[in-house]
């Protein structure tokens, strides 16, 4: 069997086996009779490709499919009010944040980064625009993960525009016609957003930009298609950008090592702090879970002090299914457990 045959005939040990793939249409899985665990109760699963969220919704409501994983906010609210359907949105290991490119002006000055954090009421923006699918967050480690010390433990910036004004003025800027200027140059930057790669990303960016304009910072929002967006970010040509990080596991190193260590593969703020690198390495080599949790708490406090990000929140996974489906328990991890699912009447 060559590589191509192998990729088209996957082999595994799970409760379902690959049966057939119709490109662009569906993937069929059948029950694995030799599975070691309990179940599965279903004879098989068909994953259908339905690109439009609106079509997914109609298919669910007409019984064409049993489960959908995407819906607009309006549809979600409608399903929540409908007793015939169950809406679940378990928090997932998906953190969302705005990255300052620390190597670029004006974000090479920590006071400006801190000022922006004080100037924006991000929890309210998230609650207003992306709730309940995104919950406000205060760290790059998502709240469901054990590396997050819990609500209210980590220091946060809060919303205090006066403090923001103080810090900007301390950095040498003065307010002229409603906008801050230094040496005749306006305090302004480009904010790069993907085009709905993440839930309500560009809407959150728009609200963020509007709040910064209220304190005198000029923001140019630039929305790019994902390929072009990643090109700009990889080339470090952005000043600030909206990004997410999804992981299937709960270990905090999956977030800190990639996003905060020097040269990390998701270090799109392009910054370096030897103390954070040292703490991350120490956490990697520590086996005691309590000690590790303490180390990750210190890492998160250091990240807060450096003000490399404006934390947006943690995005949930969405599952909507008819109430007659039993035994389905969505989790924070990417893998779904369908072994005990029963389709009732």
């Amino acid at each position: 069997m060559d590589y191509d045959d192998f990729s088209m005939n996957p082999v595994g040990t799970g409760p379902f086996m690959f049966d057939e793939w119709t490109p662009g249409s569906e993937v069929n899985l059948v029950k694995n009779p030799d599975w070691w665990g309990d179940g599965p109760t279903l004879d098989g699963i068909t994953y259908r490709v339905i690109p439009e969220a609106g079509t997914q919704v109609v298919e669910l409501e007409t019984g064409g499919v049993h489960l959908i994983t995407r819906a607009s906010l309006e549809d979600l609210e409608r399903f929540e009010e409908n007793p015939d359907f169950v809406v679940e949105a378990p928090a997932a290991y998906r953190s969302r944040r705005l990255h300052f490119n620390v190597g670029m002006e004006p974000f090479d000055d920590i006071r400006i980064r801190q000022a922006i954090n004080w100037a924006v009421d991000m929890p309210t923006i998230v609650e207003a625009i992306a709730s309940p699918l995104t919950v406000p967050g205060d760290s790059l480690i998502p709240a469901p993960g054990w590396g997050h010390p819990g609500e209210g433990v980590l220091p946060t910036y809060g919303y205090d525009p006066d403090k923001a004004h103080e810090l900007i003025e301390e950095a040498g800027y003065e307010l002229v016609d409603g906008f801050y200027e230094k040496d005749g140059e306006r305090l302004s930057f480009d904010l790069l957003s993907p085009d709905y790669r993440y839930f309500m990303d560009r809407d959150i960016c728009e609200a963020f930009a509007r709040q910064l304009e209220d304190v005198g910072i000029d923001v140019n929002l630039k929305v790019k298609e994902w390929g072009a967006f990643m090109d700009t970010v990889q080339a470090s040509e952005h000043q600030m950008c909206f990004l997410g990080w999804n992981q299937s596991g709960a270990d905090p190193s999956l977030f800190t090592d990639a996003l905060a260590m020097t040269g990390g593969r998701g270090n799109w703020s392009y910054r370096s702090d030897p103390r954070i690198d040292e703490l991350c390495r120490e956490a990697q080599q520590t086996t005691d879970i309590d000690e590790r949790a303490e180390l990750y708490k210190r890492i998160q406090v250091k990240i807060h002090e450096n003000a490399w990000f404006v934390f947006v929140g943690d995005e949930a996974r969405t599952f909507i299914y008819p109430e007659y489906i039993e035994g389905y328990y969505p989790t924070a991890a990417v893998a779904n457990d369908y072994t005990q699912v029963i389709i009732g009447e």
């Binding site: 662009g24 079509t55 064409g64 298609e225 994902w226 072009a228 992981q247």
Partner: protein, 313 residues
């Protein structure tokens, strides 16, 4: 006619070469690194570099083009970056779906459009003419995603008569046919409306010609005058339009396919563009160009069948 056809086909070669250069440059110059998109934002840089090497993206542009064009001559467009299958296999899987949808859409839109156009054309400024032309304006103006969703809400959601989306195993079974009805109606709606308007104006023009007056003065039945004398001559611009529309529909009706989750060429191209799947985009665009060329050649040849005065000797 044979000589004309051969000449036309030879004339297509430079067009296709130009298209191949254009599409190659466009996809390669569009921002977005296929290796990065394939690996995902969470991937390690070494993995991205290894994918880039594996896909041959580190080769100079002219080498990549030479490989593409020599392969294209043999109808071998290489492996898809996204599905890791031969591009021609992906196209072979999708093309029949696009064909069946386009053929059904064109068939109903031609029958309906021409019938309405003739009806309106022979009764200018009547109530029927105004209503049919008013409806056709809506047909032309309504965006296909809106028409598609409205049909879906009516026939799938409210009435429950038709499945909302997807494709059946065969168009000759009720499941397959019922899944095709709404996409075909959506896809053909604009074409039917344009056909109706074009046929009406063409009929109006022809009906004022001297030979129609002569036919009537000979005492010919009005039905014969309209269908044998007027409609046949009025069809020339309609056939031209049909050729253009057929090209568009066979090229993949992207929006309709997206709305109805119809796995055709349109969705293949869109997904390939998003993933910067260069071989698939290049192959599909070249194929669409080829379809246009062939359809328009067929349209040219049809003129001589409709109107014997047109000769290609």
């Amino acid at each position: 006619m044979f000589q004309y056809t051969v000449q036309k086909m030879i004339g297509c070669i430079p067009i296709l070469i130009c298209v191949s250069i254009l599409v190659f440059l466009l996809v390669h110059l569009t921002p977005g690194d296929p290796a990065r998109l394939l690996a995902g934002p969470e991937a390690y840089e070494e993995d991205v570099e290894s994918i880039r090497e594996q896909l041959g993206l580190n080769e100079p542009l002219h080498t990549q083009y030479a490989e593409f064009i020599t392969g294209a001559i043999r109808m071998d467009f290489g492996q898809s970056f996204r599905t890791n299958r031969p591009v021609m296999q992906d196209i072979r899987d999708r093309l029949p779906n696009t064909f069946q949808l386009a053929i059904v859409a064109v068939t109903w839109s031609v029958i309906f459009g021409v019938a309405v156009g003739v009806y309106a054309g022979i009764r200018p400024n009547s109530l029927g003419d105004s209503v049919s032309m008013g409806v056709s304006i809506i047909g032309v103006s309504a965006p296909s995603f809106w028409v598609g969703l409205l049909l879906m809400l009516l026939f799938a959601y409210q009435l429950g008569w038709l499945p909302a989306s997807g494709i059946g195993d065969s168009p000759f079974t009720w499941d397959g046919f019922s899944r095709m009805i709404m996409p075909a109606l959506t896809l053909g709606a604009a074409t039917a409306a344009v056909m109706a308007r074009m046929t009406r104006s063409s009929m109006l023009e022809v009906l004022h010609q001297d030979y129609i007056r002569t036919a009537r003065s000979k005492g010919l039945n009005e039905r014969v005058v309209i269908y044998r004398h007027a409609l046949r001559n009025g069809l020339i611009p309609v056939v031209t339009l049909l050729g253009l529309q057929l090209g568009v529909l066979l090229g993949g009706a992207v929006i309709t396919e997206q709305v109805f989750a119809w796995p055709g060429i349109g969705t293949l191209v869109i997904n390939a563009i998003h993933a910067r799947d260069y071989p698939t985009v290049q192959a599909c665009i070249l194929l669409i160009a080829l379809i246009y060329v062939i359809v328009n050649l067929l349209v040219d040849l049809t003129y001589s069948v409709i109107d014997p005065r047109v000769r290609y000797d």
